[in-house]
Amino acid sequence: MNSPAKSAITKPPKSKAPPVTYLLATVALLSLLFAFPQIVDSPYTLHMMILIFLSIILGESWNILGGYTGQYSVGHAAYFGTGAYTTMMLMQYAQVPPWLGVWVGVAVAIIVALAIGSICFRLRGPYFVLASIAAAEIIRLTALNVKSFTNGAEGILATDIPPLKLGAILITDFSSKLPFYYTGLILVLLTILMTWLVQHSKLGYCLQAIREDQDAAHSLGINLTLHKNIALIISAAFTSTAGSFYAVYIGFIDPTSVLSLDMSVQIVLICIIGGIGTIFGPVAGAIILVPLSEALRSNMIAQGLFKAGLVGEESSIGIFLKDNLAHSHVLIYGILVVVVILFMPEGVLGFISKFVHGKTRRGVS
């Protein structure tokens, strides 16, 4: 969130005594990412990068609960929406700047998460999935119906974001995409660091034990409810942060955009498509999904077909594609998830690593 975090982050999270080449590659990648806006100044490219960052944060945070702990929540829109609404309402109605509002959002999301967890964690397998959906739907319908509080279906539009000042020095006034780019990048690095820390801690081993076999984990003395709730809190806190980031960046939220079942499903799909229960799975998922879905949304695929001469622009099919393809950009999510589930159940990343390492199957997580 603030710039002091930057210096702490430059230590690559992957460097557990790796060969020097690894270290150099990570440093090079990081400096490239930090210098990226200086090299490329097309706002659209920056916008795409910011969306990819957002997806990575969401995927990584879901991964803690879904990937490492095996609790497939399909209700993460609840935490995303809570963060978005809290930050946005504080900013619009109480003039609380978003970099303070985000913490309130995290706190509210944790409370919501504990309430939902106390109900859902009593259930297992498909019943847990259904309960998590129902809980998120209750929150969406509440936001839709408490019109005096949340403005209902009309949503909330951000009028202006207060400038961020440190003492008397103006750091940024959020007028360009740059501050959002760096905030997103830092949040991504923080989430990846968090995932790495969880994965290599005792907590991570407990979570993975729960994922592999709840009853066996329980008989080994792992407190199931406690550990599931810890995973949920971490996951909800980061999801809520992503929600706040989204709300401030887009500048408009309504129950359909931030609290809907579609949102929850998209969060899950980032992980599933990339590879579940791995650090870089969600990264791969975001890098695959966001550009594809944006290409559909902005009609690039239809244009590409015209340019390649596959479909005539004036032909009836061409006109049809140009008019309609943009509306159905979620189609790509559907097709990808079906392909991934049927042919590469370990996700794209798992599939690639299996391909590279031949038939020798190595533990990814």
């Binding site: 259904l130 079942l261 509306h327 189609l331 559907g334 079906v338």
Partner: protein
């Protein structure tokens, strides 16, 4: 009192259609242990099929049920053979995600063809109603309820009395034992999925005169179908019928006595309470 009876009657009438959706979901779960997250989207496909039959061929939505049932049955059989069959032994999570993906493909393909505009199918009786003992009853709802009763009765007869129905029930009870008894469980799975799809499609056809038709309508009904089947007990056909009617009544009562915006919240609260206190449902054997 009139208001109470009025909302009770309309609740039961709409509950009939809900029961149809619920029975389809519960049959699929019973035979394959797969929770079909595309169920509402399948219903949506049925709605568009009916809409097309009406606008292109002028076939009445209630008469189109006769076409809808076989077409949707084949569609369901196709889905089962090509997709669902491959994940029967996979993790339940993967099954859920596969059906979510199939649902996304269906709703977005329909959106690609018909755009996301709301469509209305207006028939001569769409807003008609008649009165019995001071209670007004919507004509399309009454007809659809009647058709629902006939279909449900036929389904019971099929499941209880025919050889194939018994084979399906046996597969649902114990897949391996059924296989040992010489039942072709793979074929039963295809038939059960086809039947479930046909029921959902029929429910879609029946609600077209009274509901808006749009590509995203599915997810609401998928969730409703879950509530109904969990309430009745996963895998129990009688439970799903009962659950459908209960949810129908709860919605219509909620709309009258609380507010129409909150009626769905009521449905989900009931759902969570059932999951917490009686997860096996009203009619289900404990199968958690």
């Amino acid at each position: 009192m009139t208001v109470f009876l009025q909302s009770l009657i309309s609740g039961i009438l709409i509950g009939g259609v809900y029961a149809l959706i619920g029975i389809g979901l519960t049959m699929i779960f019973g035979v394959m242990r797969v929770i079909n997250f595309a169920h509402g989207d399948i219903m949506m496909v049925g709605m568009y099929l009916t809409y097309n039959l009406f606008t292109l061929c002028g076939i009445d939505p209630f008469a189109s049920v006769v076409i809808c049932i076989p077409v949707m049955f084949l569609f369901g059989g196709f889905l089962q053979k090509i997709f669902i069959n491959r994940v029967l032994n996979a993790l339940p999570q993967n099954q859920i995600l596969l059906t979510i993906g199939l649902g996304l493909i269906m709703s977005n393909t329909i959106m690609l063809i018909y755009t996301s505009d709301y469509k209305i199918l207006t028939t001569s009786y769409s807003s008609g109603s008649f009165r019995i003992a001071g209670i007004s009853i919507s004509e399309p709802l009454a007809i659809s309820f009647l058709i629902t009763v006939i279909i449900t009765a036929a389904l019971y007869w099929f499941l209880m009395k025919t050889d194939m129905g018994q084979a399906i029930r046996a597969t649902a009870q114990d897949r391996e034992a059924a296989q040992l008894m010489g039942i072709n469980v793979k074929r039963m799975s295809v038939i059960a999925f086809g039947l479930g799809t046909a029921l959902a499609g029929t429910a879609g056809a029946l609600i077209t005169p009274t509901y808006y038709i749009f590509p995203q309508i599915g997810s609401t009904f998928t969730l409703k179908a879950f509530v109904i089947t969990v309430l009745g007990g996963m895998g129990s056909v009688i439970g799903a019928t009962l659950g459908g009617v209960i949810i129908g009544i709860a919605e219509s009562m909620g709309a009258v006595y609380i507010s129409s915006g909150w009626k769905e919240v009521l449905v989900y609260v009931i759902f969570l309470l059932v999951l917490l206190f009686k997860p096996s449902g009203l009619m289900g054997k404990s199968r958690m």
